[in-house]
Subunit: 307 residues, 2 copies
């Protein structure tokens, strides 16, 4: 039993913008290591167009290599109906994911840059993906830039609420609110999550922060205090948009898995993760990318104090 549900995003969000194509076998070994640690939700790959994101051209091969385990969801992001059809074909061939995640952006400007469609067109796209995927896959929704947009600035929480309702109306009951470029604060995070938990008791909400301004753990603690129990992280903080100005620029890494797990455990929250293997796996992610990543406890060791 654990007090929180963690989704490990290294193999998808973490690798998405890496130019080095990681060999399929190494991806599978890493995903098996995540499974071995005790993660029950793991982003495995993406059904993005391989011409656009070559890193995931081996989606089917990766999925063929993965063990199935009761209670464990392998997750892929999916950009369009063509992606759902590929996922369905792989599923029929015995290499399916359990869940597809479907993205919208809370602003048109971010939607156009990140998804190549304005919000209206992206919602039509999402409806098509739901029609193609429902009944075959669990479906989850992600609302990007929910706490602020690098192009449009402040985001009206009412827009986020309407997006949540739209996902719910499509039967999507798990919704991720993403602080895509680190513009949330503990105050705005707590307010947002307290309200959506109160207003949509039938939905499960997931926090997905980026550590662009060092506030990843701060905002996760605020979300935790607001009642959120589902969090996305990536080993070493790998991932996020590349450091190009069209995505808001600068450092935009994810929250580092090892640091969040260490903090949760030191606060007395059970994560269900095998702590003795946490840093070795974090190091294997660094080895895979050939560089030191941003996890602090990978350098300093786990906090010896537990409450």
């Amino acid at each position: 039993m654990s007090d929180v549900v963690l989704c490990e995003c290294f193999a998808r969000d973490g690798l998405q913008h890496e130019t080095h194509l990681v060999p399929t076998g190494e991806k599978v070994r890493l995903l098996e290591a995540f499974l071995g640690l005790g993660f029950t939700r793991i982003e495995a790959t993406s059904y993005a167009n391989p011409q656009v994101i070559p890193q995931f051209q081996d989606a089917a091969a990766v999925l063929r290599g993965l063990p199935r385990r009761a209670g464990v969801s392998w997750i892929a992001t999916c950009p369009n109906v063509r992606g759902v059809e590929r996922a369905r074909a792989d599923q029929i061939a015995g290499a399916g994911v359990d869940e597809l995640s479907l993205l919208v952006s809370a602003t048109d400007a971010h939607s156009e840059r990140n998804l190549k469609r304005d919000r209206s067109a992206q919602w039509t796209n999402v409806e098509g993906m739901v029609a193609a995927g429902a009944g075959h896959f669990a479906l989850s929704g992600v609302i990007s830039v929910a706490f602020g947009c690098p192009f449009e600035g402040a985001v009206d929480p009412a827009v986020v609420h309407r997006d949540i309702e739209r996902f719910a109306s499509l039967g999507v009951t798990r919704v991720t609110l993403a602080d895509t470029v680190g513009m949330a604060t503990p105050t705005t995070t707590r307010a947002m999550f307290q309200r959506v938990i109160r207003d949509y008791p039938g939905l499960t909400f997931v926090a997905h922060s980026h550590d662009s301004r060092g506030t990843g753990l701060v905002n996760y603690v605020a979300a935790l205090e607001a009642g959120i129990r589902c969090f996305d992280t990536s080993f070493g903080g790998a991932g996020g948009h590349p450091a190009t100005i069209e995505y808001g620029g600068g450092y935009t890494g994810n929250v580092a898995t090892e640091d969040w797990i260490d903090l949760l455990e030191s606060m007395g929250m059970r994560t269900g993760i095998a702590l003795d293997q946490l840093i070795p796996v974090a190091r294997s992610c660094e080895t895979l990318l050939g560089r030191e990543l941003d996890g602090r406890v990978t350098r300093s060791g786990l906090n010896p104090l537990k409450q």
Copy 2:
């Protein structure tokens, strides 16, 4: 007017373990830049034995170069009575600091390794420094490993309370509680600071976290919520003990000034710092040390959203 009082520690805590000896003129220019940003408390140097820490052999020369400004405290750490005597001689010669900070450790094991004396001997040393420095300098007390010790583990808050009372009995009214190797959590930080603020209303408490496990900002937000308004930070997170196992090992940097200021301002707290110059000064600290440091907003820019 500002809502918080920030102490910039780069020129002392940040440089203490740098093997490259920064030229005096560069130190002075940097300290003037900190002053220009609006800091009212600035660690300028240390009266450590120059044979032990050569970085601060130019203490007197640095202090001679600094402008005096009403309401601004230039601060030096001081290890022993000999250090106070040097500080006093410099003061008489017109190059004095305003404040000396006096360290104790909450555990014998850390005291012996960091201060080369057990707690009892260090308290005798502190009493000698107070006798030599009182009336000439403002004196502040620092309690290291107040939230946990890498050698002894959990620290009894009663020990910290007795140390606070001992500082108070010596007339020291500003006391820093230091999480020296990042073992505090928001829970323990909040509990500690709420209690000392309640129990010692005549004292001013300062939070000094290290980001060893990525929890610097998390614990500062908890301290802020507990009522703390004084915080130590260092540009780029520079400083902390070196990465040697006798000090607890691994990464032990300070909280990055630029990230904490950005978070405070984005939460609507006024810091009194000139935000338009914050990142340029952070970059100049990187230039001085010849490497990229750990400030996130130095890469990503300040949060455009303010509450």
